[in-house]
Symmetry: C2
């Protein structure tokens, strides 16, 4: 394994720095988030690499396949992808994973970490190609597809690899044990602790963040020695197919079976996820997507550890602020970014009828709503800029909800959505947000805003007062789940109440964000994504609990 | 919380030393295992304290109760216990836990660890009283009841507390985050990470090791901030009732609600375990006992994390040895200790028909069986010594199996069980082991020895050769589960095969034990108990995975 030794040497400093970052929790990343850091020609090269794949068969040498191709991706920007991926049978795929397992499982945690870091280094070098792939499957604007789909996803992957390494090396590989026996000779044993992977892992990707949401589970399972079957969303295959391709290249070069990482592409609703998820070989499942299927997995995939991120309803409580403009701009951007299609995007803005104290005087509920609508309009007034913030609508379901909002179906419009034209992509489907006025205690309204309305539909909820808002925040988290909670207040007492409600509900809280950090963004090595403490997700990216059960430890003891 | 501060100071050195021990994995314990270390009068005082409880009501001040008492313990030594414990309704118990939860949950990990260590210090000081309680509920001989039920159980508890502290403090309570923005000012946030307990924990104790098997879950859940309901086995209440009593005293003195730890005593088969296990409040369950109920919990208690230790079949492979006498004596003691009523006791001894190479020449299958039977007879020839090793038969099921073995029901007897009389306890039920000769490939025999036969019934299994033995070991672990595996060999190649089979099966292996360490014993801070990688248990005492999911982390971030 000379190749692996070289990889360990190449990446040991990055791993060591990542382990420090896990404990320090300050900002850190080895993967530059500025597109220009990758060289002048990188964007064009990435685009060329992407375009070269359009209308072709995606080759995965040595990968199981029936010989057929599956293709079903449709770019939200209106271009044809037409990429065909190898069709697979579940049994053949799992047999290949089973065959690959022993060699990968026998590698040391350090060897596996080094292989993972090499995979990430090569993914990182191709970040502009990934940006194209993410953009044309998710609808994210290029800048976001680059950052969130590239370096930020790589950060989350590295974080998982570092945690996996840390967890696997908590027990020394060999330890002596000497127990005194008074005047007699001590008892002496030598004890070896060997990490044993759990079994084949399944990663079920989502449509909106195939890499960002897919990487933590993929790399946590891989780094702990398990073969990984990657089942991409049928509409967002390319980013994960590229990932699998690169992983297989690195694995093969390092002397491992490339089938340690495989791709389970399928036509929409073909059902391979269910077949794989129930197979006795599959011992770990990571899933991001609908509550319905997440609940099904938790209920039925009993032979596996199941990590799910499902739907939720994210809430903002607006009590008071000393930077009214900053608050409005921050919220306008947070709601607009990627057309509200982030699991972390706030949906409900709770605004007291009693008014909001600001640095620009007391603002009524109506005034706050009007000003927020204006801030959104200001942000998105220019079509080119709007397109760069909004990206495109990921799928027909989101478009349908935008249309329903526009038709007044959800309530009184404070801000109507509009169609944005893209000069670059005439076929792109782009919509600005709808802002709807609703009342907290009107049953018809509650039925609407208290369930997830994924996409660019936001509710300005009139609450009686701040206490009412805090109560509603807590209830929403407990009953609907939430990935994020957000508060604006200048009152220490209200801040305490918000913190209390979020601790009780089990959701992380962003307070008084008015600058360049938004409620819907989390940073690896610093923020946990999700908590696992409310119905929206049963795990978090990434803490020790996310990786600690993906392997077991077997000990061998013998007399010294 | 001045009281808590004092506890932190009192126990901080022990905690620090325990954290070091977790990483070093050498022998360490702060709780002396020699009875005499507790003072000359301690045994008599412990006995007096135990006897004072006989026939009385066990008082738990402030504990929920219907006012009725439950009593159902029967000493395997034939004495009447007649202790009445407060009867409780599940709803009242869980309401009390709910009321206690916020204060305990708001304590810091350091405060909780200190309270747990004070509980353990007081339990430790009363180890002789616990020894009586364990002896007269489990049937363990006094010496074993003292060690395994006292200091060794306390070691496992401390280990869980230390892991819980380590896991909860992996993220700093507060961290700054500064992200450079090129020429612009950096983004700066302050981020707080708050440990949030998961919810009420349920510990379901077993008949044979109420403290040793009960403490890891109890203290792991408690130290991570969860209120704990302790449901003892109806035949082994006293050791856990004493534990709950002491825990409540310490909690109250430290300013917490004593109902943070409660007792759910019940009459046999009353069913409170099921009621509690399915209650939505209960978020964590630790269980030791039958496979049937363990599987039921895993299948049905879907709202909870479920940690189970169930039945298994433990195997010894005898290939060769350079210390034949040492091997026989070690096995004789391992099989005899506590009448084989340990989940770690070997059940099947696989002996090749091709013979066993030893320092005393080649031994045939028959010779090894004869010599092992003789070693057991030698160990247990004297009734007083036999009673001190065997203890007593824990319950009628074990007695029935011993009788069935004596009647030849399981196969040809190489060693017949005999009745041992206790001078001290004329009513004690004491039996020596039965050793049965069976054949690995005879279907009738396989049907017998390939399922758990809990108690003093052991099978000398004739296998074709060592390879056959290794194969059968692996199959037994995979299909039946196992808590331990044991091998004797002088061949490096056979050793490799044994290690491989145990890694693949997911069971820890003891090799060539011929001295004062036995296959059925594990030491806290060094050996894991169980692996969680085979059907016998889904978790191990104690690794990071055992505690890491018992709490979640909620973050609060705000501009710096």
């Amino acid at each position: 394994m000379a190749a692996v030794e070289a990889l360990i040497e190449r990446h040991q400093d990055t791993l060591a720095r990542a382990l420090t970052a896990l404990a320090d929790r300050d900002y850190w990343s080895p993967y530059p988030e500025f597109p220009k850091a990758y060289g002048e020609n990188a964007p064009a090269e990435g685009k060329a690499a992407f375009e070269a794949r359009l209308g072709t068969a995606f080759e995965l040498p040595g990968h199981p396949t029936t010989g057929e191709l599956v293709a079903g991706e449709a770019s939200p920007y209106g271009i044809e992808l037409g990429i065909g991926y190898p069709r697979v049978e579940a049994d053949a795929l799992l047999a290949a994973a089973r065959a690959a397992a022993p060699t990968w499982g026998a590698a040391s945690p350090a060897e596996r970490a080094a292989v993972c870091l090499e995979i990430l280094a090569r993914i990182n070098a191709r970040s502009h190609e990934f940006a194209q792939a993410v953009m044309h499957t998710t609808g994210q604007a290029y800048g976001m597809a680059f950052q969130a789909g590239g370096p930020h996803a790589q950060d989350r992957a590295l974080e998982a690899v570092a945690y996996a390494y840390a967890e696997q090396t908590r027990l020394p590989e060999r330890a002596g044990w000497t127990k005194p026996q008074g005047k007699r000779d001590p008892l002496k044993l030598i004890k070896d602790s060997v990490v044993v992977p759990r079994g084949t892992a399944l990663v079920i990707g989502c449509n909106t963040f195939p890499t960002w949401n897919g990487y933590p589970g993929l790399f946590a399972s891989l780094a702990t020695g398990n073969p990984v079957v990657v089942k991409p969303h049928p509409r967002a295959v390319l980013p994960l197919a590229l990932t699998v391709l690169i992983a297989r290249e690195v694995l093969a070069e390092a002397g491992f079976d490339p089938n340690t990482v495989t791709l389970a592409a399928e036509h929409d609703r073909e059902g391979i996820s269910k077949t794989l998820a129930l197979h006795p070989d599959v011992k770990i499942i990571d899933y991001t997507g609908s509550t319905e299927f997440g609940d099904w997995l938790e209920e039925n995939a009993r032979q596996a550890l199941v990590y799910t991120e499902k739907a939720g309803v994210n809430t903002v409580v607006i009590d008071s602020t000393d930077d009214y403009k900053g608050m409005l701009n921050n919220l306008a951007f947070a709601l607009s970014l990627y057309t509200g299609q982030m699991c972390t995007t706030p949906q409900n803005l709770l605004i007291p009828r009693t008014g909001v104290a600001t640095d620009q005087g007391e603002k009524s509920y109506d005034q706050v709503v009007t000003d927020l609508a204006a801030a959104i309009e200001g942000l998105l007034g220019d079509d080119a800029r709007a397109a760069a913030v909004l990206g495109a609508v990921v799928n027909p379901g989101v478009l349908q909800r935008s249309a329903a909002a526009a038709g007044g179906e959800y309530g009184e419009l404070a801000l109507a959505p509009r169609v944005v034209e893209s000069a670059e992509f005439p076929g792109a489907t782009i919509r600005t947000p709808a802002l709807i006025k609703v009342e907290a205690h009107k049953p018809d309204d509650r039925a609407v805003f208290l369930s997830e309305c994924f996409g660019p539909v936001f509710f300005a909820v009139a609450v009686d007062n701040t206490a009412d808002a805090v109560e509603l925040l807590g209830r929403t988290v407990r009953e609907q789940g939430a990935m994020t909670a957000t508060g604006y207040t200048t009152s220490p007492e209200v801040e305490r109440q918000l913190v209390r409600a979020c601790l009780d509900g089990g959701v992380s809280l962003s307070l008084n964000l008015t600058g360049g950090v938004y409620p819907n963004q989390t940073a690896a090595f610093s923020d946990l994504h999700g908590t696992g403490a409310n119905p929206a997700a049963n795990a978090a990216y990434t803490d020790a609990a996310f990786v600690a059960s993906r392997f077991r430890v077997v000990q061998v003891r013998r007399p010294a």
